[in-house]
């Protein structure tokens, strides 16, 4: 399977944060959810992918090309939606389209009109009068109107109401019917992803913890509950993180089959949601490792 995004051993340091040896592959034709808590490094990686910032070391290839030699070709094939608005408030949607559309050689006015009508966006109203949801629809309509192969979305649903978030995800589901399109969708609102995601990449403190198929995660990850006596040095390795509770322990495992084999019916195993995986994967003082 062809990778549309390839990061190899990428490092980027700031005074209070760093990405450490990040390697990431995003496969063509799939929806990849890029998850992690606030400040984990999702936006930094997206900025690296979009060439807004440069890595200190490592290699970045997008659609088989690199920015040093093919910057404009790469950007032609990327559609982007950011959480913040990138719109000139005093311009109308018509003006905005006029200044953006000639930037893309593949701009398709018919598709733009189709999305504009679908999203019920007025053409001659100043953009500063649009609601946050409408502004996000403008960004999405622009991102979808130039036959982009790769759509990169950095927390586009943050701050939006649940109804709009659902609508937004339904639109992306329609987009994914085209098997040549790839979406990298960063979010910390994990419910948004459940119905659509093919791959999940979890980032924590500037490091990729895992990048797996969502069905694989569903099969492998589980929350295990049992009595404290069951825990020992030999059993510890089956758990990613263990939390002691009043009645025993609660732990995350990435190997449900093995845990079932070892502990049998002496523990209760439940499917782990993405939220639970993210919670147990965090490195802080509240979830103490055994």
């Amino acid at each position: 399977m062809e990778n549309v995004i390839e990061l190899e051993q990428v490092n980027k340091s700031y005074p209070y944060f760093q990405l450490k040896d990040v390697s990431l592959q995003v496969k063509r034709g799939f929806f990849t959810g890029f998850i992690g808590p606030n400040g984990a490094g999702k936006s930094t990686i997206i900025k690296l992918i979009l060439h807004l910032i440069r890595p200190d070391s490592g290699r970045i290839r997008i659609l088989g090309m690199d920015y040093q030699n093919n910057e404009k070709e790469i950007k032609e094939k990327i559609g982007f939606v950011y959480s913040e608005e990138l719109l000139y408030g005093d311009l109308t949607l018509q003006d905005m389209k006029r200044i953006i559309s000639p930037s893309y050689s593949n701009w398709d006015d018919a598709i733009f009109q189709q999305y504009r009508e679908q999203f019920e966006l007025p053409l001659r109203q100043k953009l500063k009068t649009f609601s946050k949801g409408m502004k996000m629809k403008v960004s999405l309509a622009i991102a979808l109107s130039h036959h982009a192969e790769l759509l990169i979305m950095d927390e586009p649903t943050a701050g939006l109401d649940p109804i709009f978030r659902r609508e937004f995800m339904e639109i992306l589901q329609e987009v994914m019917l085209d098997e040549n399109k790839t979406i990298l969708f960063s979010t910390h609102i994990l419910n948004d992803l459940t119905s659509i995601v093919d791959y999940i990449t979890l980032i924590q403190n500037g490091q990729i913890l895992f990048s797996k198929e969502s069905i694989e995660i569903e099969a492998d990850y589980g929350i295990v509950r049992g009595e404290s006596e069951l825990l020992g040095r030999d059993t510890q390795r089956y758990f990613t993180k263990v939390k002691k509770t009043a009645n025993g322990f609660e732990a995350l495992t990435d190997n449900v089959a093995e845990v079932e084999k070892i502990f049998g019916h002496s523990v209760i195993i439940e499917k782990a949601s993405l939220e639970e995986i993210m919670y147990y994967s965090r490195e802080d003082k509240h979830a103490s490792a055994y």
């Binding site: 900025k47 950007k75 982007f80 006029r98």
Partner: protein, 205 residues
Amino acid sequence: MLQLIKKDIMIHKLSWLLYLGMLVFFMLFHKDIIFVIALMSAIVIMNTFYFEEDANGHKLWNSLPFTRNEIVHARYISMLIFTCIMTVVTVLVQFGLAGSLDSSLWKELFGGIFMILLAGGICIPLFYYFGQQRIVLFLFVLFMLLIIFGVHAFYYVYEFFIGGFSSPLVPADMIVISIGTVVAIACYLLSWILSIRIYQAKEII
């Protein structure tokens, strides 16, 4: 790149009418053509940066199919276009108000363009360096002060040098204006190169 220049002009939209009104107002009450050209060009340039910062334009245009070099080139060319527009409009307004044009008008036009190339040349790399930060408002004030004090300094320096140069073949003011042209163009080109370097290294946040 042409698209970026068109964008720089389009984002002002109806503000162009406001600029025209201001220009006529200054011409009616101030009549210092050097000051009017430099000030009005500076206002349009500052507003371009303001609109860009307000819309998070750095992130937008760097995500679109443009290189950073193109973005800087376009801005410097836009600045020249704004100055040309303001110079032509000033001449037309002057003609409309006075009914004729003074034969020494070209020296004042030169003065206005000289000032904007110098002040813009100093300030634009700073806009690129400090862009996306709150200090930008301070830079706008600095730009204005450079124009206001620069125009007065220009008159003083012009008078000072005009007495210092004498040649039987070339008039003194021609020598001063030639030197001024070289200085202004050199400053603008150096500023252009510096801005490219700054913007290439800039982290777009």
